[in-house]
Subunit: 245 residues, 2 copies
DNA sequence: AGATGACCTTAACGCAGGTTAGCCTCATTG
DNA sequence: CAATGAGGCTAACCTGCGTTAAGGTCATCT
């Protein structure tokens, strides 16, 4: 853990620039945010439910998720966060958050104080708008998950989810046809509302149909179009490339 | 439909004031937003998926929902909106929205142009922060729905949902123990990810247990504490009353 | 090299909840 | 007041998926 002023926030800058580039001044203001790097091991919590929020974390490397424990010990993973994401951005305007954030794989995150963010936003309203947009996208993705879990069969649901993850990594140029992080079947089940056993069945079915294959522990999408069809997937809700108005 | 400058936005002002009151100037700036009233009949769409967004709607009266049609004709209701809510606030920062908004009951909404909102926010940054907070709460509620639909049994899920609706109406002083709007069993099913038939079974079970009862077409919660227990419900995710920082 | 533990895989069994279908009630309308 | 239609209710049947259990692979540790 160390204080750094010029570490790599480029995935964040990239995200916020989607649609319409930030000015050099704005990009540089972001890069110069006072951050504290934190190396988190797999399975470790970064933020606990109910913690009073005074800083936010930006994912730089690895895989982070937001989850909640519901009655009877079940864990529901509500969102996955990849480099450039700010899992707890909502905390900037809420007293406490009702979910936990943890690293699923060894990860590196940058902690930024809310104070610094508020100053940044006050000086650069445009950055505020872009961050607000991130909050809106977060909500849009969550709503898409509601539809996915509520109305689709397990197979379509899994296909939809895999399309989402691949598309997000592709937008960062971190993937072409293989989801570059490892997600265990237990994690897949905990996020898609199904049991591990059924995850296995569904993956098998997608493999048999030639839509995906396993590459070591990673998932390779063999036929993205067919998988999108199977999952009734339309990437627009991710707002990966639209202009700002 | 008529242009009015002083209609009743008091539920909105109330929402935005939660935790810490707005200044008189701010409250009055909101009340003087140039709005266009729209009376919408039950079942009518207010906004269609993919419409380029240039205005937002504020619910004044009635019941509005956000929904999406998934493959094979199923409808998933992603959120219910009651007076004071802005169902399409996210559109302020996104090009297009991926969902539809429709009135479930005869409703009155106020349409505000994004231009007017941008001006309001520029002149009153505090209002911008409060609106941003609304976006964050919207996301928090959606995440709670993911947990609800993903991990809870139909019975607990329904209990949780009823608690949510009641709590939201109570926060507006529009309810004590009865959810003041009518929600049909079909709508309940489409939002909770279950069939009408099963909605009926579950409601019956909650009735038999003395947790709820029907009052005409409305649902009365007979034992709020027990219902919260049955639904593993904790209202904090709704952020109904917390202070702003 | 054997032990340990995390994860994957498959089979067998059972149930929560979907589907289909039919009837009932009540409000609205001509 | 008869006709229509929206919504509620219930029964019978069936299936997608959960549960339990057991064995397999692989990496890591001693």
């Amino acid at each position: 853990m160390s204080i750094v002023a010029r570490h790599d926030l480029h995935f964040l800058v990239h995200r916020l620039s989607r649609g319409f580039p930030l000015s050099d001044m704005e990009a540089s203001a972001i890069s110069h945010l006072p951050i504290m790097l934190k190396h988190v091991e797999a399975g470790a919590d970064i933020l606990r439910e109910g913690d009073p929020a005074s800083e936010a974390c930006i994912v730089l490397e690895g895989l982070v998720c937001r989850y909640e424990i519901v009655a009877e010990g079940g864990r529901q993973i509500q969102a996955y966060h990849i480099p450039g994401d700010i899992p707890d951005l909502a905390g900037l305007h809420l007293q406490t958050l009702e979910h936990n954030i943890c690293a699923l794989r060894p990860s590196i995150v940058a902690m930024v104080s809310h104070r610094a963010l508020h100053i940044l936003i006050a000086e650069h309203p445009q950055i505020g708008a872009r961050l607000w947009r991130e909050t809106a996208i977060d909500a849009a993705v969550a709503h898409a998950w509601v539809s996915n879990i509520g109305r689709r069969t397990a197979r379509a649901r899994m296909a939809h989810f895999l399309c989402e993850m691949l598309a997000r990594y592709q937008a960062l140029d971190l993937a072409s046809d293989t989801i570059p992080c490892i997600i265990t079947q237990l994690e897949l089940g905990d996020s898609q509302g199904m049991s591990v056993v059924h995850v296995n069945r569904v993956l098998k079915s997608l493999k048999r149909a030639g839509l995906i294959e396993m590459r070591g522990k990673n998932i390779r999408i063999r036929d993205q179009v067919a998988l999108q069809f199977a999952g009734d997937f339309d990437p627009s809700y991710l707002h990966l490339s639209e202009a700002v108005h």
